[in-house]
């Protein structure tokens, strides 16, 4: 049993070594601010209570995925360039890597184990489902086409509204997206459409 865990760790480490260059090469367009980003801090789920933002069912580390490993936002938020909705990654997307990657330390392994549990429980309707706590929720009388903003500002437009998620151990709200002045100030600076019916219909 113990042997298996060791093998698992070696395997996942090997997978990381294999995967990392791939992930790096895909991150050529990352903003310069992130180029010298440090390894994400070591935190356990016990720390998440003291971090900003709501606690999530899994202590998912954007700072590790998007920061340390420089994965592109669109790898998981797959529809952001095509649709008004950014798309929440499917569990299958998570498992695509985490079938192999088991985590480098005990705190990571604990969270990845939760993910695997949700995945293996998914066939059983009586078991709880993974429910992320929503952080940004736009009022229902406003329509925000994500794809237009990604089209205009490039794939790294996300942090304009969502903040430097790549440095967030736990995601929190940086800007109040329901404050219309926040939208308008940007539209003013960029001299783009400020018609009411661009968003309100």
């Amino acid at each position: 049993m113990r042997k298996l865990v060791v093998v698992g760790t070696i395997l996942s480490a090997a997978a990381l070594v294999v995967l990392l260059p791939v992930l790096r090469s895909g991150s050529a367009q990352q903003p310069p601010a992130l180029a010298d980003s440090l390894a994400a801090p070591r935190l356990s789920v016990a720390d998440s209570g003291s971090l900003r933002g709501p606690r999530q069912p899994i202590f998912f580390r954007h700072d590790i995925h998007a920061g340390q490993y420089k994965m592109q936002c669109q790898y998981c938020h797959y529809s952001v360039g095509a649709s008004s909705e950014p798309g929440i990654p499917t569990l299958q997307t998570c498992m695509g890597c985490h079938t192999v990657i088991g985590g480098t330390d005990s705190t990571h392994r604990a969270e990845i184990k939760k993910l695997r549990q949700f995945w293996s429980d998914s066939a059983d309707a009586s078991k709880p489902k993974l429910e992320w706590v929503r952080i940004h929720s736009l009022a229902r009388f406003a329509h925000f086409p994500h794809m237009r903003h990604v089209k205009a500002m490039g794939p790294n437009a996300c942090q304009t509204c969502h903040g430097d998620v790549a440095r967030m151990a736990q995601v929190f709200k940086v800007n109040n997206v329901n404050n219309m002045g926040f939208c308008i100030s940007c539209h003013l600076t960029r001299k783009v459409n400020r018609d009411c019916t661009a968003c309100h219909y």
Partner: protein, 1020 residues
């Protein structure tokens, strides 16, 4: 903890529900303290965020497990399918968002509807999400329904049918297709009889064609090429035949094409929607129409030498129907009859049609035969009347009568009812209910607890057509496919699977029905079809058909050579009527409720009757003369009594009905059928006798007497005033003027009428000055940009007033229905409405006519609503829209008071809360805000479609092309009367359509400069 249908179960997407307004969300709606505590207890971690003084609820995002290949959040997925709301079999495209169907649109490739869809088709969604649907299998125990498992329910069906082997009957309303074939084989294997039952089945026409041509079938009528159309009571724009296809053809021939148009004459006792669109209406007594048809045929045969040779055999017998004799029968003058006949034959090809429920009296076969002869004599058979169409042949009323007798005699002991509601659709005097109640076992696959289902012992609720695999052969050469577009809303099952699983539970049927599921069965049938068509790859054949909604190039049998039966009888007997009351009862088929199946859809109940503009209830139409004689006024309840029963119904005084007739719409008066239909209105079938004539049920066969009661029921009409009162809202001009290229003003001058009060020179100067300043303003700010300016053209020569656009608008824009009480107070929210104005008919002998005009926000350039809004909620966008910002609106209603068109609608109550009660809320369009109480709303020119098209064009780095944006009303219109586009683009269709001498603006004299241009109606 929120009770949501299973749709989101395993595939919970980003549960954003933009469409639902905050007060609709299950968490905050009616959040009592007890419920709040329950939520806290269950939500656990979520409760932490709920604590404190914040009212914001915690929203959860439930990820998909596996990425669905055909669902991207925020992007609609379209499926091709087939509509089953009537037997026409139109093709539909189903728009789904986040795995739920939200809109139905016509399939442009489909030969029947060519991309458009009527109001009943649109409202199929309210069948899918109807709160009155049966939520799982039920069995009756001690008078009450108890739920059971599907396996038990199917086992019970199999067992009961096996016990009753040989004494089994199945009543089915399904059209021809693989399911119907399976049902026939299954019933036969049970030793039972299958009765294919459609209440509106056009049996008299088939009998007439058998009598005249020896062909027991229905032809297709080509309205598009006909240059002269005479309808003998056939409501071809409402319920008779494939109405969308007929309306498209009618708009093509009868719409003014710049040079000419077909003429349309209607002969029937009541001015229905079809007659409203006629250029000439002859209110004939029911039963006298056949004489007119034979008289016309006689004139043609007497004067024309080119009639088909074999028609001359008729000359002798038709000679009896001289114009003078016909004039006696019909009340028309002999000269008018001659003129009608001559015009009919000289305008080749012409078309005469007869049939429909409104002309289904005891002489209906005579009438249809006379019209068939008229068409033959005029040389229309093979031209505009085409046999060999392969339209379905239901079994008809006689088969139901035999079934009732068999049930009474104990020859049938077990019955399965599928897609039919005979308990409602048969006259009460047929005593079906009593015979049905005697049966030891009766089961139903109905989706709803309708009258028949309520009387059954076992309910096996079927999937809606949008939830199951199926196919439909509405006519030769057309094979429509249906596919499930979403997870079933409730615990229902495809009826095909019920049959197959029941067969598996019956030992001797096991081998005969080996298919594991109906889907597999269907695919196998299509593989056989593919092989018979010589397709190399059957899988590819199936996928192609699925993508296109079916195959529409199928082999059509060569039309049979149509010859007259040599001994065709032409002797007419005047149809008899039951009873000795003073008025003839005319049950009117409704274009909203059809045979009664539309009565549980609020969209159809709130969409006003195209003729009377009455919503939410029944009425009895009386001629003003009759009403005066009986001393009744609109809304007074009268008791209509026939030898078979009596009903109480409010009066609607209507000059478009003969003085000796009382007309009552069919389709309402349900005793079951869900909360919307139950107890609403009356059913005139209660007044009919059950006797059949040549195998069909004569609907117009009863004389009734009228007694006044003390009751009063305010009719929920949506019209303000039925007359134009000189306001020139719906303009029309004679064909002669249209041919000359007259403008509306010139035409009015010709007939001695001034269009508008002439502005004084000072006013004219002020208006000119204003216009110049407006032009200057368009060079400023955002208006100076190269933006499109949206505009619309509505051709009143094509618009028939059918109201398909109204329901399409409700579906697209999340418009709440408001119900009877609020409609009587003028609070309906109908962004798009059809205004109907009566002309003439006041003085005795004055011809009576009606005009329609679709009325929606005119998006005025100089909009009166905008400057009066204190909070700038109503304002003008740079692309020419009259914007309405819901979140800014504080509900002063100044804008509505200042709108001359009365197209702004106010949410007096949280209408949306009731209108979109679960599961109807699943239909909401996520791209459109659901408006809260206290907010003004109105037509937006489908701004969400405009923005959507702009987003798409930007993503593809291309400019917006003409035709990229189609409004919901334009998309639905079967006549193609609505054109929408960018009026700044000189090549756009909307600009070309507006370049017409018939163009005018409604209330243009107010100088509000509307963006909607109307083209005046032309009267041939």
């Amino acid at each position: 903890m929120t009770v949501r249908p299973v749709i989101t179960r395993d595939q919970g997407s980003e549960d954003r529900d933009q469409g639902a307004s905050p007060e609709l969300s299950p968490l905050t709606a009616d959040l009592s303290r007890r419920r709040f505590l329950t939520v806290l207890g269950v939500a656990g971690a979520g409760s932490a965020a709920l604590s404190g003084c914040s009212t914001a609820k915690v929203e959860k995002l439930i990820p998909y497990l596996v990425q669905s290949e055909d669902q991207v959040p925020g992007i609609p997925t379209w499926y091709a399918s087939t509509c089953t709301e009537c037997s026409a079999g139109c093709g539909v495209h189903v728009k789904t968002r986040e795995a739920r169907a939200i809109k139905l649109e016509g399939n442009p490739e489909h030969p029947v509807n060519a991309g458009t869809l009527c109001q009943r088709g649109q409202a199929a969604l309210q069948g899918l999400y109807n709160p009155g649907r049966i939520k799982g299998p039920l069995q009756k125990q001690r008078g009450a329904f108890q739920s059971l498992l599907w396996d038990e329910a199917i086992g019970r069906l199999a067992q009961q049918f096996q016990n009753a082997r040989g004494k089994v009957a199945v009543i089915s309303g399904a059209g021809p297709g693989s399911f119907d074939d399976l049902l026939a084989a299954w019933t036969q294997a049970q030793g039972g009889r299958l009765i294919r039952y459609q209440p509106f089945d056009r049996a008299p026409e088939r009998a007439a064609n058998l009598r005249v041509f020896g062909l027991d079938e229905l032809p297709l009528y080509d309205f598009a090429t006909a240059r002269y159309i005479v309808s003998f009571g056939a409501d071809f724009l409402e319920t008779w035949g494939p109405v969308i296809e007929q309306q498209r053809g009618f708009a093509q021939s009868h719409g003014f094409n710049g040079k000419s148009m077909a003429r349309h004459v209607y002969a029937g006792p009541r001015m229905d929607l079809t007659a409203m669109n006629a250029d000439e209406w002859h209110p004939l007594l029911p039963g006298s129409e056949a004489s007119l048809a034979l008289g016309m045929a006689g004139v043609i045969l007497g004067e024309r030498t080119t009639a088909p040779q074999d028609a001359n055999a008729l000359a002798a017998s038709l000679a009896a129907y001289t114009p003078e004799k016909v004039a006696q029968d019909t009340g028309l003058t002999p000269d008018a009859i001659r003129k009608l006949a001559r015009e009919f034959v000289s305008a080749a090809p012409s078309l005469a049609v007869a049939g429909g429920i409104g002309a289904q009296h005891r002489g209906a076969v005579d009438l249809c035969a006379a019209v068939a002869i008229l068409n033959y004599v005029a040389g229309n058979v093979g031209q505009t009347v085409r046999f060999g169409a392969g339209l379905p042949k239901p079994d008809g009323y006689a088969a139901m009568q035999q079934l009732i007798a068999a049930m009474n005699a104990g020859e049938v002991t077990a019955v399965l009812v599928h897609d039919a509601n005979p308990l409602y659709a048969l006259p009460r005097s047929a005593r079906f209910a009593e015979a049905f109640a005697k049966l030891p076992f009766k089961a139903s696959t109905s989706l709803f607890l309708d009258e028949t289902a309520a009387a059954c012992d076992l309910l096996l609720p079927a999937h809606h057509a949008l939830e199951r695999w199926d196919d439909l052969r509405p006519r030769a050469g057309v094979l429509g496919l249906m596919q499930p577009v979403m997870t079933p809303v409730f615990d229902t099952l495809a009826p095909g699977d019920v049959l197959l699983r029941a067969a598996q539970k019956t030992p001797d049927l096991k081998a005969q029905f080996p298919a594991p599921s109906f889907e597999a069965h269907l695919k196998q049938k299509w593989a056989e079809l593919a092989r018979s068509r010589g397709a190399a790859d059957t899988e590819q054949f199936w996928r192609d058909a699925l993508q296109h909604g079916g195959i529409f190039n199928g082999a059509v049998a060569t039309p049979p050579a149509v010859r007259l039966v040599p001994t065709v009888p032409t002797v007419l007997t005047a149809p008899s009527f039951d009873g000795d009351g003073e008025l003839i009862l005319l049950p009117v088929p409704s274009s909203m409720y059809f045979d009664g199946r539309g009565a549980n859809r609020p969209w159809l109940l709130e969409n006003p009757d195209p003729v009377t503009k009455i919503t939410w209830g029944s009425w009895a139409e009386l001629n003003p003369e009759t009403a005066r004689r009986l001393d009744v006024r609109e809304g007074e309840i009268i008791r209509v009594t026939s030898p078979h029963g009596s009903i109480d119904v409010p009066v609607y005084v209507y000059p478009g009905v003969r003085p000796d007739v009382v007309a009552i719409p069919l389709g309402l008066g349900h005793t079951e059928f869900g909360e919307y239909a139950k107890g609403l209105g009356v059913n005139p079938l209660d007044l009919l006798g059950a006797g059949s004539v040549e195998g069909f049920l004569p609907y117009v066969a009863t004389r009734v007497s009228i007694a006044t009661t003390l009751g009063f029921h305010k009719l929920a009409k949506t019209e303000g005033n039925p007359r134009q009162l000189g306001r020139h809202i719906a303009e029309a001009m004679p064909l002669a003027h249209a041919e000359q290229g007259y403008t509306v003003e010139e035409s009015l001058k010709q007939v001695g009428e001034e269009e508008h009060a002439v502005n004084t020179a000072r006013e004219a100067e002020a208006i000119a000055g204003f216009r110049a300043s407006q032009v200057e303003k368009t060079k400023l700010g955002a208006y100076a940009e190269e933006l499109p300016k949206w505009g619309m053209v509505i051709d009143l020569a094509k618009c028939t007033g059918c109201s398909a656009c109204v329901t399409a608008c409700y579906a697209e824009n999340n418009i709440p229905w408001v119900g009877y009480d609020n409609v009587t107070r003028g609070r309906e929210m109908s962004w798009m409405r059809i205004e109907r104005y009566f002309e003439g008919g006041v003085e005795p002998g004055e011809p009576f006519a009606a005009r329609v005009v679709p009325m929606l926000c005119q998006h005025c350039d100089n909009a009166p609503c905008e400057p009066v809004c204190p909070v700038y909620a109503a304002y003008h966008t740079a692309d020419g829209l009259n914007g309405q910002v819901y979140n800014r609106c504080v509900g002063t209603r100044y804008c509505s008071n200042n709108c001359p068109y009365k197209v702004r609608y106010f949410n007096w109550f949280p209408f949306a809360k009731r209108a979109f009660q679960a599961p109807l809320d699943l239909q909401l369009n996520p791209d459109v805000t659901v408006r809260a109480r206290g907010v003004m709303e109105k037509c937006t020119f489908c701004v969400q479609r405009i923005r959507g098209a702009q987003h798409q064009a930007r993503l593809e780095d291309r400019p917006l092309a003409d035709g990229d944006v189609r409004t919901a009303c334009q998309q639905a219109c079967p006549s193609g009367a609505i054109v929408f586009g960018n009026v700044k683009d000189p090549e756009s269709r909307v600009v070309r359509a507006a370049e017409d001498h018939r163009e005018y603006h409604v209330l243009g004299e107010l100088n509000v400069r509307p963006s909607v241009t109307y083209l005046a109606k032309v009267q041939a």
